[in-house]
Symmetry: C2
Subunit: 250 residues, 2 copies
């Protein structure tokens, strides 16, 4: 693998060989994760690595039966964690105040910095990875399976293992000018939007999504099929209720 | 630079040479950022790169006058952004529903995945970087300087440039066993906490912090000096109020 290109060649891998990953590689992933930048060196995250079939089976329906949760040898659940820091403070007669919205956002940030470092280290070691956004949808139930105490909130899951197929094609993204702003933000005109979404909308794959769903365009595939208002509102309330058990959000 | 070690050698760089960074390197950073994993390929983030002295001067006090904001040639502000996606939906007669707590958390996650990819690509190109957590503290004021519309929330800032000094020593972290859990979460006993925080607490630098502040221990340096309850509550309310202008948080 060409490490020069490791930052621009990510492909989500969802099918894995039934091949064990050496402990040395798992250690590389852990060491990469903990060396990521974080706020004040407080490391307000925990990483749960699940490999046992029994536990992966319990997690599987919580990730909407995406089979990679069962088939990937490694399932990492990255969690925002103020529990450990609070315990340290308690033991040291110090009073922590890191259970509010700011610190939820901060802990989430640090968790994801660690997760992305882990992802790149895994890919650099020859593994394929995929992040699962479903973690937030069923955080409550995932917390039960993983026996998370209060103060620990699942943020994102990463499955990893040796890819079954060698996928080289990367996913179409907006051109960089579509997400980058120089000096200050330059708000998007209709013409800008047309320009930046043009390639994505005109991929055969995307046109097929639109056709299969009898919709007018790709944006409607997102809003009417992939991420509907009903699901969005339900899962948002569910995640917020769960996060509120650990953080004061308002 | 040894790319094999890029994932485990991060040091925060706060002093920079007055040396211009080539556009080719800046492009590498942008391309790394947009190739990071993200939810549903929606890319709910924007990156603002500020290089002009005038704008950096405006940002400086909002980052508590940390001089690296002025002296680094590159100041990247990574923002969660539903504005662009909403505009696309509007133009396509689609109704987006991504302005709730779940999607704030999702957009924040995607923003940080992109930011860490950018950080590693910058380091791999020979630059030094430092993330600034102050972005959330003064998000409202930073948004004004960067002219962010509603739907765009600053999450984290990264300064980058050529390091003035070659720093090789990395910051002490908790041992990996202190943040990693196998299969399920194993809650920390007092003995665990003592073990995992032992090295950190016993660094000369940390002992000096304790002494200088006339405190009993390092945990109290965090709670009484670095991140006090008063600041935590004030900045949390401030960030929440600002985020609520773009997302329905409850």
């Amino acid at each position: 693998m060409n490490t020069k290109n490791i930052f621009t060649t990510h492909k989500s891998i969802r099918e894995f060989l039934p091949r064990i990953v050496d402990d040395a590689i798992i250690m590389k992933i852990f060491n990469a994760a903990i060396r990521a930048s974080n706020t004040g060196n407080m490391q307000l995250y925990s990483i749960i690595l699940s490999t046992q079939p029994k536990i992966k089976e319990e997690l599987l329906p919580l990730h909407f039966n995406q089979m990679m949760v069962k088939k990937a040898p490694l399932v990492f659940t990255f969690c925002a964690d103020i529990n450990r820091f609070n315990k340290w403070c308690k033991l040291r007669n110090a009073k922590p105040s890191y259970d509010n919205f700011l610190w939820f956002s901060t802990a989430l940030t640090d968790t994801v910095l660690a997760a992305e470092n882990a992802a790149l280290a895994a890919e650099n070691a020859g593994l394929g990875i995929c992040f699962l956004g479903t973690t937030m949808y069923n955080a409550n139930e995932i917390a039960k399976v993983l026996q998370l105490p209060k103060g620990v909130v699942p943020v994102v899951t990463m499955v990893a293992g040796y890819p079954e197929k060698n996928i080289t094609e990367v996913t179409e993204r907006l051109p960089y000018e579509g997400v980058v702003h120089f000096e200050r933000y330059h708000d998007y005109s209709d013409k800008d939007i047309e320009k930046y979404y043009h390639n994505l909308e005109n991929l055969d794959k995307m046109k097929n999504f639109v056709k299969e769903n009898n919709l007018e365009n790709l944006a409607q595939v997102f809003t009417s099929v992939r991420y509907t208002e009903q699901d969005s509102e339900m899962f948002s309330k569910k995640y917020l209720d769960f996060v509120k058990e650990s953080f004061r959000i308002n």
